[in-house]
Symmetry: C2
Subunit: 369 residues, 2 copies
């Protein structure tokens, strides 16, 4: 049996790789996707699935463009996955309360200005209004803001839905690939040699999160992405004490409909080491209890960590790889891989097909470092 | 086949029940032991296996008598279990460092006096000496004391060894017994009716920890024992940063030889609810890191909780049950069930056989409440 030879080989089966595979398959291309383990087991799985709002019309920064474009796609994309696969990814518009300490007045001002400029809906809450969203909120916070359009998705379920949709659309998923030798000629990559198979392709797309750097290094390209560990604790209560996401700076509480609450997350530059530490878990639990004191009685169900792929400027790198005519990259999304995945995949698929992209990629190009 | 009818029926297969069964079997009695689940799954399993030293010769309180008598038995009993079953229970004399804050001077004085009076070996350490035992100890502690004779046992392994030894000595272990009806006549309990079997016996012995109260209540006897939850976190490091137990008041760190460190424990009066809470785990992790700051990087491997059986005076209740001529109890050991189990079992076995006990049971009788 002659083995399938894809138009595009995607290396890395996280949320960026899987969504890109699906977009390309939708465009009629044949796709193979490689993962060194099972798909969707790393950062995409480990995050909390927060989907902050945006307004594409007024987005002026690369971050805002990618966030707001993605935000505009999430509802429809989730519906499509549900219809195609029968898997509910748990997408819902849950709203978010952002809290600010007394000494975070400047942060609140800057953030409010940014929301206003972009046209993101937000309301400053009185303390009476705040406790309607979060009855047990610690009253010590100086200011609270409500973002009605903030959404969430249950990322592990979304990854299952993506995988199923890819398979249904004919994407070949090749997992547990321990070794890949990429064969180059001139400025093209022609083949990927696996232990028991050779894949020939027109286009290579690297979407391997923190592992992208070493893959691209083997091709002589430097795209700096380093792993930044994030730890999460999962709490459980019989009855959710709040339904919205709560954020304080970069820490958050994300409630799931079944009584689970994710408490995240740390930011640790410790290399490729996934583990939960005494200090990290203690910090997260203290944060949760300080935000919503009744959580002190919540059950600690589980904890885990993930490795976020961070570029030096914390922005993803999207598009053509310099010096190689058929290689593309979508990596370095740091904390925003899940939320930015629909937009990233749509852009990557357009670029790979030579189409115009819906939003400008200015500031995200691979040669910016 | 006529079913075995035991001389003694033991209700409750924790460390007290299993050790008592073994002592009685050693005396030639036939024993059946009931457990509502598998043996050794509750408080005996959940503790940390600390075995504080004692000196039987000078012991003057009920607590000291039972602790020091037990302490004198642990080494030999562990050796016997190893020889009989091939299971190493991990008994070792590891020493303990007790630390005291600046404002705990009175506690240190009282404790030192008690050790001196009992003839327990201890040394006040200089800070240079202290860091020889615990190189990373937080220097903020005012005083540290070393107890060279402090020992530990890996309690889950000890329970396995006990169970194996019991089975080898012919103890019948009946597990997962959901319902027991005890049949009384005059002032004796004659039978235990299980769903599929009737056990007739000469003597009944209740060693069911926190569940003892309800069993005895059904016989018209009030022995107040209530569950006090204790949570534990297990940390792991590649290399142990210290080999001795470290205690600060009622909280402790217990290192196992394979790099695990138990951090315990909370004391919570919340009924029969085993769970780990955000507040409990945060407290334990903060305690661990405040005691030995390098533990901040230790991996959080697991957490669990157990229900300690506490009497109002925190002392166990041992011996004959008032008003019933053939019923005995060994329960309410609170935090000390594991450490006091060899002595408790030896005493209970003697009392049940009508022999003199090695140490006085003054202060532990079932009619003291």
């Amino acid at each position: 049996m002659p083995l399938h030879q894809p138009d595009v080989l995607i290396m890395g089966g996280g949320v960026i790789g899987l969504t890109t595979a699906l977009c390309l398959a939708d465009k009629g291309l044949s796709i193979s996707l490689l993962d060194r383990q099972s798909t969707g087991q790393e950062a995409s799985w480990a995050g909390a699935g927060m989907l902050p709002p945006g307004n594409l019309q007024n987005a002026t920064t690369p971050e805002a463009r990618l966030r707001s474009y993605s935000h505009s796609l999430w509802a429809g994309f989730s519906q499509r996955l549900l219809e195609q696969t029968g898997i509910d990814n748990g997408y819902r518009v849950c709203g978010a309360v952002n809290v600010f300490n007394k000494d975070e007045g400047n942060l609140l001002m800057a953030q409010s200005q940014a929301w206003t400029d972009e046209g993101v809906r937000f309301h400053l809450l009185t303390s009476n209004e705040a406790i309607q969203y979060v009855p047990d909120l610690n009253p010590a916070f100086e200011s609270t803001v409500y973002l009605p359009d903030f959404a969430q998705v249950r990322n592990p379920r979304h990854l299952q839905a993506l995988r199923a949709a890819c398979l249904q659309k004919g994407v070949e998923i090749i997992e547990h690939v321990s070794e890949v030798n990429l064969v180059a000629a001139d400025n093209r990559i022609l083949q990927a040699r696996l232990p028991n198979r050779i894949l020939s392709f027109a286009t290579l797309c690297v979407t391997a999160g923190s592992w992208s750097t070493s893959i691209l290094q083997s091709l002589g390209v430097e795209i700096p992405v380093r792993p930044i560990r994030g730890q999460i604790v999962q709490l459980q209560l019989n009855k959710l004490p709040f339904n919205c996401v709560i954020e304080h700076g970069r820490q958050y509480l994300v409630p799931r409909q079944d009584g689970l609450i994710l408490v995240g997350s740390t930011q640790e530059d410790v290399g490729f080491e996934k583990k939960n530490t005494a200090e990290g878990i203690a910090q997260l639990l203290e944060f949760a209890v300080s935000l919503v004191p009744t959580l002190r009685h919540a059950e600690v169900v589980r904890c885990w960590s993930g490795l976020r792929p961070a570029s030096p400027d914390e922005l993803p790198t999207l598009g053509a790889v310099p010096g190689l005519s058929n290689v593309f990259v979508g990596a370095g999304h740091f904390r925003s891989g899940l939320q930015m995945s629909p937009g990233t995949a749509a852009i990557l698929a357009d670029v790979i097909c030579g189409s115009e992209t819906v939003v400008s990629m200015e500031g995200l190009a691979a040669d910016r470092f």
